[in-house]
């Protein structure tokens, strides 16, 4: 067997898709006539992250310190041929999965948390903050901050805070302070609590709280998804996959992944699209959050309070309140501008998967491959199974990105 987990697999540069897009990416816009929320980013994000947000450079060197941490947290992650799943589905082609659940925090989120925390720490920042829904992003931020010698404060959507006490424990172990959102420590939080003391919270509210807290305390905020810089960091997924496929002598015909804000999917597909080869590319979203089919392609708020600049994306509206599905990471109302552009152009197909189908897919994957995947990743697996069923006699090579493990989300199987 050829090892595809040598650290040589980790690329030296991240890849930024923006200069390679078929159309210009509509830039962010200010929300207010008299103030610039774009300029405000200087007080919210590490400088290097802002630079990467607007850069024209296709390749961005991964700093040595970040490289070392990437190795510490388990990169490169494995690319595995899912032979048992192929047998189970009686598929004539091949299925590979890239397993981001193999990182120590259990998902791809750590890929961007590390560089963002590193850049903040290099600027002399001592504390960072962020929001978390399902908990994966908060977990990644907590560890990345500690590894870079900083404190972290995580605003966790209230429902998840109550439903997932183990997530909070992990974040605490990694050194973060976890606060249920809406909270009493920000104006945004107090406003929502006064409307309803038992407010369930939402990602949009939690983002606003974290950004407000960062501004009030002159610390920095880490971005979990959606923005260009995050997707650039996540390109490590696709860059590694490409090298691993080369080592195995394979070429991908079909790429499948799940979409919340679009970071694991964009990071996975963009580097693989560089060769211009014709492929089927499928983004799998939650049927309960139909951003690509029912959302509009327009400028919309990133956060609930509109503190961050607006961006052009498929959006269901920042006040959209999704059903509470297990795949908390897919509940975001929008999707990254670069991915939205490719969906609009038909280069990326979108598919919606309901929760029942996700649970079935997770069972099949656990049963055949031994991996309990995250509910978010379950969408990508469900779309893969669906693709194989509808294209049974094709002999294609499918690569699916499994963005995380679901060992802390087992309650999804409780009712069965």
């Amino acid at each position: 067997m050829i090892s595809t987990q040598n650290t040589d697999i980790i690329p030296e540069n991240w890849y930024n898709v923006v200069p390679d897009l078929p159309e210009p990416l509509p830039p962010p816009r200010d929300n207010d006539l008299h103030k610039s929320s774009i300029e405000l980013l200087n007080r919210i994000l590490p400088k290097k992250v802002i630079e990467q947000e607007f850069t024209f450079r296709k390749y961005e060197k991964i700093p040595d310190e970040v490289m070392e941490l990437y190795e510490q947290i388990g990169r490169p992650t494995p690319l595995v041929r899912a032979r048992n799943l192929e047998k189970y589905l009686d598929y004539k082609g091949k299925i590979f999965y890239k397993f981001e659940g193999a990182t120590v925090t259990g998902s791809h989120k750590i890929n961007t948390a590390i560089p963002q925390a590193y850049y903040a720490a290099s600027e002399g920042i001592q504390e960072v903050t962020t929001e978390t829904g399902a908990g994966q992003w908060g977990t990644a931020t907590a560890l990345a901050s500690s590894m870079n010698g900083m404190k972290s404060k995580v605003f966790m959507v209230n429902v998840s805070y109550r439903q997932k006490p183990l997530r909070k424990t992990v974040m605490n172990l990694y050194g973060a302070e976890v606060i249920p959102s809406p909270s009493t420590i920000t104006e945004t939080g107090r406003k929502f609590l006064s409307q309803s003391p038992d407010h369930p919270g939402s990602l949009g509210i939690a983002i606003s709280e974290a950004v407000e807290y960062a501004l009030d305390n002159d610390i920095r905020y880490l971005l979990g998804s959606v923005m260009n810089s995050v997707i650039t960091h996540q390109s490590i997924i696709g860059l590694e996959t490409q090298k691993q496929l080369e080592i195995m002598g394979e070429e991908a015909d079909v790429l499948i992944g799940c979409v919340g804000g679009g970071s694991n999917f964009g990071g996975f597909i963009f580097p693989l699209m560089r060769d211009g080869r014709k492929r089927t590319i499928i983004s799998s979203t939650a049927r309960e959050v139909p951003k690509f089919s029912k959302g509009k392609y327009r400028y919309d708020y990133v956060d609930n309070a509109g503190i961050l600049p607006s961006i052009k994306m498929y959006s269901l509206g920042s006040d959209f309140v999704p059903e509470s599905i297990y795949a908390g990471g897919l509940r975001y109302h929008g999707a990254s501008p670069s991915l939205s552009l490719l969906v609009k152009n038909g280069i990326v197909k979108s598919e919606e998967v309901g929760e029942k189908q996700v649970i079935d897919a997770l069972r099949i994957f656990a049963n055949t491959q031994g991996i309990v995947a995250a509910p978010e990743s379950g969408h990508a697996i469900a779309s893969t199974i669906e693709y194989v069923k509808s294209n049974h006699d094709e002999k294609k090579t499918i690569v699916v990105n499994v963005s995380g493990h679901g060992l802390l989300d087992m309650s999804i199987f409780a009712g069965e």
């Binding site: 390679d20 830039p27 816009r29 200010d30």
Partner: protein, 212 residues
Amino acid sequence: MELGYPSRRAYYDGPRIRETHEAGVVNFNETSIEKLSASLKRKAEKIYLLAYHDDFLENREKIYGILKRCGFSGLIIPDLLTDFYDENEDIIREIQGSGYEYIPFFNPSSPDRVIRNVSKISNSWVYYGLMPSTGINVPYSQDAVVSRINSILVDREINFGFGIRSVDDVRKLVSYGAHGAAIGTLLITMLEKHDIDGFRQFINDLVVMRNA
């Protein structure tokens, strides 16, 4: 010299210039633009009108009328290549077909192939925004931004704008290979303060720099 057609949708301008648009929308009339352009023409070889896409489409006849009567050489549409990219070829052909220059407006987020394609179908100099919006400050490397566009568009006149705050900024841009620089927010600030001396000094410094 560039004159802005007042807009309620000046999305790619920063807060200072947006405020001037706001005042412009209220006070705008064609006589004032005729007067202004006449006095600008005494000082400038060529004058250009900047209009946002929707304003251009909604006031097409009027804008062509202004271009003609006031002797504008061409038109800049800052949001055409971002929000209305699908329409770019038709609009560029129309403007050029009517005898005016179309000035492509790019920024660091413009993809390489877009810069190449649009430059091919347009025949004038190119306007390059150093950052996503005017008058705001985000970190970037001027040197790298200028060499990027120069390497894609060899032998083309490129003028830079957005975020230029001082004669020193202009000097640096020129040393990196810029042909010209657009100055907006800085002048608005001087205007608001009635800082005529500051303005004179600024122009003098520019002239000294050019002649050096």
